[in-house]
Symmetry: C2
Subunit: 195 residues, 2 copies
């Protein structure tokens, strides 16, 4: 048998997270066993516990990591300038970021109900933070008279839901390029907030 033991912590750790994310996205947290994850990595189930205290924490860490990445990426990408430019940037950023991490987006939305209450509260808080980022843009646009937004909070949730929907049908090899998809959605987003 090939060498299967030794020091691989820095290699195996990411592979555990990658395999768990892929399997959770495909089959759902509850339907995936620790043995399946281990098999995908190429180790026995017991070895996973060198990398996570338990299955729940593995899920939670994946979701928190994704949400924190999302917030950090937007904070780094948000442009200076007027609200309309920020809204376009948000639209394109959200589509690009989410399609590039489809599994993490899927898991972070679908597995909320499998989080223990305190873990759920953390992820929910991060999600609300993200919504608040967009809400701030809409409020700024409304105050400047560049946008018409009767309910900024609801509008932010509505737009995010619309944009996240891209993930349900977009395929890299499909008819439209990502840039074209961005353009189609930006068209709809822009129109939905102008008088």
């Amino acid at each position: 048998m090939a060498r299967t033991q030794g020091s691989h912590s820095d290699i195996t750790g990411p592979r555990v997270r990658d395999a768990a994310l892929r399997l959770f996205a495909r089959h759902g947290y509850a339907a995936v066993s620790m043995r399946q994850i281990a098999a995908a990595v190429g180790v026995q189930a017991g070895a996973l516990y060198n990398y996570t205290p338990d299955k729940q924490t593995l899920l939670f860490d994946l979701m928190r990591g994704h949400m924190e990445d999302l917030l950090a990426a937007w904070d780094a990408a948000e442009p200076e300038g007027d609200a309309m430019a920020a809204l376009e940037a948000f639209t394109r950023f959200h589509i690009r970021f989410n399609t590039s991490r489809a599994d993490a987006v899927f898991v972070s939305y679908m597995e909320l109900r499998n989080l223990e209450p305190e873990n759920f509260a953390v992820i929910e808080g991060l999600r609300r933070e993200y919504e608040t980022r967009l809400e701030a843009v809409l409020r700024r646009g409304a105050e400047a008279g560049a946008m018409v937004v009767a309910e900024p909070r609801i509008a932010s949730m509505a737009l995010i839901a619309m944009l996240t929907g891209v993930n349900t049908w977009y395929r890299a090899e499909g008819r439209l390029s990502l840039a074209e998809v961005e353009a189609v959605y930006w068209d709809m987003v822009r129109r939905s907030v102008v008088g």
Copy 2:
């Protein structure tokens, strides 16, 4: 012990489906056991098999029933007249129908990956039919010059995603009435398709 046996088929049947739908929505198909469903109904697990051949079919029947109800309800509700009126009707119908059946909507979207391939194909087909109904309205509006819709198929998916998002935050006891929610969303939908 109270009477627990006898002829209750027409009573127990719906109760099994109701309990299963509620539990599937709350905890997920894979995380809910037949014993939990049975306990919610007040019978032993074995009794469930008088009402479904297996757990998978129970899930599938719930999802198919919901999707068929959805299509039938829209076909009954779609107004004659111009495309813009049809779009407003669709917007209000979708919000009203979906918020009134939140559990079924949730399950029909979240549990797709737990369907066996042939069952998945059926539900996916019904979903596409529903999208096609809206797409037809958008095409009609574009042809009549009343709407600007560059990609009717994508626009229909985008609008449905936006409208279905209401379910994630709407509560009957919340600040806005359903009629007010409808108005907010119709405002955004209308603007998103006019030049």
